[in-house]
Symmetry: C2
Subunit: 468 residues, 2 copies
Amino acid sequence: MELMIPLKSGKAISMYEQIYAYIKEEIRQGAMEAGMRLPSTRVLAENLNVSRSTTQMAYDQLVAEGYVEALPNRGYFVLGMEALFEAEQEPPGTFIPKKEGEKSGTEIDFSPRGIDLTHFPYNVWRKLTRNTLVEDNKEMFLTGSPQGEPALREAIKGYLHSARGVRCAGEQIIIGAGNEYLLMLLYQILGTERVIAMENPTYKQAYRVFESLGYGIVPVGMDGLGMDIRALRNSRADIAYVMPSHQYPTGIVMPVGRRQELLKWAGEKKGRYLIEDDYDSEFRYKGRPIPALQGLDKAGKVIYMGTFSKSIAPAIRVGYMVLPRPLLEIYRERLGFYASTVSRIDQNVIYQFLTDGYYERHLNRMRAIYKGKHDLLLGQLRKLEDDFEICGEHAGLHILLANKKGRTEKWLVERAGEKGAKVYGLSSYFISRPCDSRPGTVLLGYARLSEEEILKGAELLQEAWKEK
Amino acid sequence: MELMIPLKSGKAISMYEQIYAYIKEEIRQGAMEAGMRLPSTRVLAENLNVSRSTTQMAYDQLVAEGYVEALPNRGYFVLGMEALFEAEQEPPGTFIPKKEGEKSGTEIDFSPRGIDLTHFPYNVWRKLTRNTLVEDNKEMFLTGSPQGEPALREAIKGYLHSARGVRCAGEQIIIGAGNEYLLMLLYQILGTERVIAMENPTYKQAYRVFESLGYGIVPVGMDGLGMDIRALRNSRADIAYVMPSHQYPTGIVMPVGRRQELLKWAGEKKGRYLIEDDYDSEFRYKGRPIPALQGLDKAGKVIYMGTFSKSIAPAIRVGYMVLPRPLLEIYRERLGFYASTVSRIDQNVIYQFLTDGYYERHLNRMRAIYKGKHDLLLGQLRKLEDDFEICGEHAGLHILLANKKGRTEKWLVERAGEKGAKVYGLSSYFISRPCDSRPGTVLLGYARLSEEEILKGAELLQEAWKEK
């Protein structure tokens, strides 16, 4: 058989690749059938007027990819294969991506998410990043400790001890790319057949993680002190996910008595644990910070979780959890193979940020800035006190308003929207809506708003909600 | 009741905190009992000779933390709480951390893991990081797209198309902090009740992820062409995890015929998928790269996974996967709430690295360097060809040696170890050891070794394994 392969000179595609591509296509089209013998590399080279090494390279590639077989002393043969599997491909362009956010006539968005980044110390971050990337720091590009850099873990331990009353060793800390990832790890540590009790309403991101992983989830109602212990006791849950220092979204601070009851519940049965999500405890504007539940725990029942997303920046993607020792042992034994999800460069920058005093300074500054915004908004909202109860103030990055005049959440959100102020209904934070008809309640976040926007927004709300 | 609180002046701890801490401790110790009325803030202030706002702050904090209750017009009362839950804490220091690696007399470590970082373009990386952190780039610190930055996804799409023959849109790509994390996502996309077929032997990290998540795992044997299709058909697996372009650890390249059979298997039943792990396809030293299986797939059955851990650096922690559209829709609908696990700064640096031509240059350079090491080692190993079969050469970062003289793997590893060369037995990559007695086989990685070390190591192996 003679192969007439139309070859193009020039550098774009090498000769051997043209030969390879031609024969491959012939085989794929069925023009060369299984068992057919190819001309020898010598003959083909002579026919095409190329060097024999060129035809040899083309044949080698065809052999490597499995289109052709080389039989010693016999030559090259086209290989048989399953008829090319060509099922129907869905027509292109049928996929309509979801809208990432709605455009609207909103003037002031009281989103409870997001933080104020206008005061982020960009220059410091740049400097620390440069410091990390100095010439003799090449190990930054090698795989580090699965739990995170030991030095950073020690720094976090020190911070947690002094600022949050958390008692742990650095080796109990696991650093990860965000708390959602850490919850996925925790799922594998705790075992896949668990039932989780969550405060209702709760932080929906965590709820979605548990749901998506297939955990059973029990919504447990709250009273003014936090999760209802009797309801927890009556549930089949063996893990409780709580935010004792500043519950999201209600802003409730769990008093020490309720904390003790929770710890007691956890201690009564092997395998019970509390997950303490301490997501925004850095920001409290009245008195001392509320200490973490973990610090009260003497029996190793609390899994403590924290994050730099709110206190530094969301895109930093660094969170951490503190494992009780029995869970740490399970982690090391069964999950120690997971490489850290945070680059060592990023870890090193955060380490310097913490240990060189920048973090404390940044927190103090942001606390003052947020307190200013909080006080301003709260002052304006006092004008609404005849019609609304104000809750969840003095901490975090949002305030709640509960209507006392029987207005529904829907009414509040819609009326505000009509005036150009976007507020967020509490009901979307419920896992299951309780049957009692609570007062219409909305969340007002202020972290990303300027003072002017807060004043303007409060004005819009007064107009929107004024009772005739 | 009069409270005598020993107060220290000075700045270390403020007065109000001393008062707060004292009363809190008294309550915790039981010295102040539930229901007890505290002195009024005015009386306490007079007794202690501090301002009334100081005692007010102390009481507010005690109320916030739940130790004390404020009753309007009646005063402050100690709250009752569950007896402090004080279970036995395990004595400190009982935890013995596992050794992270054994010290030994090893001179030359042929580890198949790790890459050569001595030629990493540190200066470029520094420069690109500086570019990313310029003053007017503040959105880098805000939350980005959950799937990863659109620009980086487009760049990866372009690279995958030209270098790997992968056909996809940028919107099908999901960027994550390493492939282990992406497998956790995939677990939630595919559903938690799946059975996965894995090549046996296989990449143990992926095996551990699936195992840890609770998937059923079926080890499927391999012949010289890859995963045994008949065994796959006889299994109850509906997902197959394969490395067609360069199987780890065997180095087998799956020929196109076997690929077609795999695609056919996947197409025969709804819900069947192939996971193609294309972990080190960048490095092939003979002929063209072997195209990805994904490029042959016309029915949306292949989930393609790639990583920058080998081609840039392990600590970068960036991998990506390409989802078929039906799975993309599930991801967007159910998992779109997950924030990206890679910081936007890192994503932007990699984006520049890819689009400014640095990546291609770096790959070409590393391919030449690895080829040099590969050729050097292969040349030395030829001296062992009477006793060993060489396999898995011409690609990746390791070579396999299979003994032809009936020596066991254990003998090979131990003898080499005695001479100071660490080699890695193939058996540790098996999920279940097949009952047939294969020849003793070891892996020799060379990426991290210098030329001198390769020569020295090969010499040690010849001494260790010489047959009298």
